[in-house]
Amino acid sequence: MSNFPFLSVLTVAPLVGALVVALLPRSRPDLAKLVAFGWSLLVLVLSVVMWFAFSTGGDRFQFRESYPWIPNWGVNFTFEVDGIALVMLMLIAILVPLVILASWHDAEASKRSVPAYFALLLVLECTMIGVFAAADVFLFYVFFEVMLVPMYFLIGSYGGHQRQYAAVKFFLYSLVGGLFMLAAVIGLWVVGGKTFDWQTLSQAEFATDTARWLFLGFFVAFAIKAPFFPFHTWLPDAGGAAPAGAAALLVGVLDKVGTFGILRYCLPLFPEASRWFAPWALALGVIGIIYAALLAVGQNDLKRLVSYTSIAHFGFIGVGIFAFTTQAGTGAVLYMLNHGLATGLLFLVVGMLIARRGSALISDFGGAGKLVPVLAGVLFFAGLASLALPGTAPFVSEFLVLIGTFTVNKPVAVIATLGIILAAAYVLWMVQRTTQGTLNPALTEVEGMRRDLTLREKVVVAPLIALIVLLGFYPKPVTDVINPAVQATMQDVGKSDPAPEVGSVQEAAK
């Protein structure tokens, strides 16, 4: 079974689906939706098969495929995944069908072509899968850049208030990062012996200065993508303007490309530079945690608030990566998955709420729980997951990051812990102002607010809730996949976990 070319099929399949959907006549929107949904389910099934075909105790990289592309430059279509990428692929495969289902009526609101919306979603899925499956730096770069185009049109054509501004800002920020990376990619190619193969490059040695510059080129691109403070300003705009489904993918998956890129490219290719820059990266992470959480507290727009929360979460992921311990690293990767599930859920639920009210402003709500109790309950759950309540999946990852960091860098861990308190503040306050308290009389006059979750919406949120709870109590299947890959990455960086200090524990016991 492991000989099946999973990765290339997974990459190409959504693209084919997109073409099929795009060619459907504009007058048959329902058919387009069904085809798109069916197609994404097909991709999900294939991904599940691949998940089980991946042998957890086996090689770090599996399912390698390589086909020549531009022999003159040594570019190949090389695909392979390690545990980290596999987890991300699963996240994409799970989220896309749910997003398609959740945005069933989104495109109709915009007067634009409905099939085109779903075709764009599938194109986006193709590029997202490609970016995580690529093991050729050039190929990775191609997917990294092309990914912008469908997202740009999703935000720009189907988004809400200020969509043009948000779409252009998103595109330009990402493109700027991408071009820095292009310079670094070309540099890597020149000093790395004119090859783009990840395996070969990760064995190569570079001069210290060169490696630091190249690291910086990649890091800036990934930091903009993730986004880390101070490169984050595009995300609230893009997240606020994008249709809820696209926003869930943007924050849930697209942004993970940044942190994934750091783990896959920055650390193993430039270990010395990574260690050298680590204090700076940790500082950015910690600032991001506190600063974005404070801004989130002050937001009055639901989607912007969720965007800021996720910038804070990316701070945690960044801290986890640059702490250079297996625990923190595993926590960071697990966080990438859990954040995708939790924030994805939060975005989708918020989207449902906004679609009913016709407004994203928190002040337009108030006591909504009395009208739509189930929806309010789901929002509450999503909020709790997002603030990492024990028993939900994000708790496991946040905890791993913090203890993994604490062993090597106490101040950072302590400051980051403040972020948990702030998270409680912004989530609970948001929930309180929208669904609790006295009922806003204006709400009763809105037709949509009298309708609680429909069956379709329940189908959207149920799997995410189930996964968040399941992984909250039993993360082992995922950590088993992630752990070896993270360990190997930490070895590449040349950091080993600190030995437990038995002596001090005994001292304390006395």
Binding site: W69, I70, V142, S157, Q164, F180
Partner: protein
């Protein structure tokens, strides 16, 4: 009395040049003897057949590596590749020039001598068949370009420069609409072009003076002599530097590099759009072909001296093109500034003195030519009652009115912005890689930074087309005739194919990337 020895001439190797110049002369006769109603078809057919025949001859000569006509012409890899590129791009431009269905009578004025804005002028604007002199003029220009990239001495190069420039000046003045703008553009181009030619000629004279200093060898302006002089001459290099600078000014003017670019936006805007496309594609190939030959063959020994200066010019060109493109409100001017910035990227390739650098530059030239011609082909289609609607505000909402053409134009703009899977990305990679290898990291960084700036105007057009609502004044896209469609299809396909599978063309350019001396 010494006997006059005639140099041997390899007519087969010169065939493409001779075919184009022959076709141009025939075209003049056609103007005189063929009845008016048949002229357009005959001229178009003649020019097309000549270009195709020239392409066939270039392919047949593909393995030639020789110097002929007493050292005046070098037929080698770069010559043949660039000649092929010029001819293929010229065929595309010819298809646009020959289009007569988009606008009744074509894009060219019927009688260039009629006073602009007069009653007679308005009558002829209403659909009298356009002037057919454009075909022989174009053939002359192409013939000149073919010599320009093959010239192996500076004097031949100068003559070729004039042969292809003079018809271009005329062609610029022949727009059917907005004739004053067109004539102004032509005059401006002519005046500044004449200056540039004078600079070039003066440079040739100084270089001649410099070469007279080599012991045991006569003075001359052929590249072998200049090369020998640069490496061996004991005389002071003042003449060399002055000559090199003047030559470079002449060439960089044609290449539209800053600070010699000021004519570009006005001329690109005023000239009939098919001619603008022709200039943006073919003139650029010819100018850079000559730059490559002059700096890689004749002055290779002085590369330490000219690299910093040309590098500074490259950075300036990229900056000027990118920054000024941001402020443009006219699509043709925007494309003009984009073409200036692209001249900067091409200069980065010229400054990578390796086989890969040469190959990458040639790849860039061909790839850019296809995209830019396709871009101008779309510009010819977006029109209202007054001709082309080139003001950007008029393009708002075009994506709703004509999604197909807006999608094509978006694709081309993404290519210009260097998004992967388009030729714009592969060609940037092709020049930046060798430049980095040649330790010109600063040029690559400047290139990357200006690409960011340049992405903004492109994106603005995309936003205009797709994300704005169509207004009252949004024109529709005219259904293109067969000729424009063909040009458009070639351009867009080439942009896509060179972006997805650049391998074959790269093989070709790498194989061709060696000059003969």
């Amino acid at each position: 009395m010494t006997e006059l020895k005639l140099p041997s001439i390899d007519y087969a190797a010169l065939a493409p040049i001779l075919i184009m110049l022959g076709a141009a002369l025939l075209g003049v006769l056609v103007e005189a003897f063929v009845p008016r109603r048949l002229r357009n078809v005959v001229q178009l057919g003649l020019a097309l057949v000549a270009m195709l025949a020239a392409i066939v001859m270039v392919i047949l000569n593909a393995d030639d590596r020789l110097i002929t006509v007493g050292g005046a012409i070098a037929i080698d890899g770069p010559t043949l590749f660039l000649q092929g590129a010029i001819l293929v791009l010229a065929v595309m431009a010819l298809l646009l020039v020959g289009e007569r269905t988009v606008e009744r009578g074509g894009a060219f004025v019927a009688h260039a001598a009629v006073t602009a804005e007069s009653a007679e002028d308005r009558r002829q604007a209403e659909g009298v068949g356009g002037a057919t002199e454009v075909y022989p003029l174009m053939s002359f220009a192409i013939g000149g370009m073919l010599i320009f990239v093959a010239a192996n001495d500076l004097l031949t190069m100068f003559i070729a420069l004039e042969v292809f420039s003079l018809p271009l000046y005329l062609l610029c003045a022949l727009a059917r609409r907005r004739r004053l703008l067109s004539q102004e553009a032509a005059l401006k181009y002519f005046m500044l072009g004449a200056y540039a030619s004078a600079f070039f000629l003066f440079g040739v004279a100084l270089i001649y003076g410099f070469t007279s200093g080599i012991p045991g060898r006569g003075a001359g302006v052929d590249f072998a002599t200049v090369h020998a002089a640069v490496t061996e001459s004991p005389s002071s290099p003042v003449l060399l530097f002055a000559g090199m600078a003047l030559l470079a000014i002449g060439l960089l003017f044609k290449a539209a590099a800053a600070p010699f670019h000021v004519w570009t936006p006005d001329v690109y805007q005023g000239a009939p759009t098919p001619i603008t496309g022709f200039m943006a594609a073919c003139t650029k190939v010819a100018a850079f072909g000559a730059l490559l030959r002059v700096f890689h063959v004749a002055f290779a020994g002085a590369s330490w001296d000219f690299t910093p200066v040309l590098g500074a010019i490259a950075v300036l060109t990229m900056l000027v093109g990118a920054v000024l493109a941001v402020t443009q409100t006219d699509i043709k001017r925007l494309l003009a500034y984009s073409s200036i910035a692209n001249a900067g990227y091409l200069l980065v390739g010229v400054l990578a003195p390796s086989r890969e650098g040469l190959s990458g530059t040639m790849f860039y030239l061909a790839a850019y030519g296809f995209s830019v011609l396709a871009a101008f082909a779309v510009v010819t289609l977006v029109r209202d009652a007054d001709g082309e609607a080139t003001h950007l505000s008029r393009w708002a909402g075009l994506g709703r009115r004509s999604p197909f053409f807006a999608a094509i134009f978006t694709f081309i703009l993404l290519a210009f912005a260097g998004i992967p899977l388009t030729s714009g990305f592969t060609s940037k990679f092709a020049v930046f890689g060798p430049a980095l290898e040649a330790n010109q990291a600063w040029l690559v960084i400047a290139g990357v930074l200006t690409s960011m700036v340049l992405a903004f105007p492109y994106l603005r057009v995309v936003v205009m087309m797709w994300l704005s609502e169509p207004g009252e004044s949004t024109p529709t896209v005219t259904v293109p005739g067969a000729l424009t469609s063909a040009a458009l299809v070639i351009g867009v396909l080439a942009t896509l194919v060179l972006g997805v599978v650049p391998g074959p063309l790269l093989d070709l350019t790498t194989g061709a990337a060696e000059f003969v001396r």
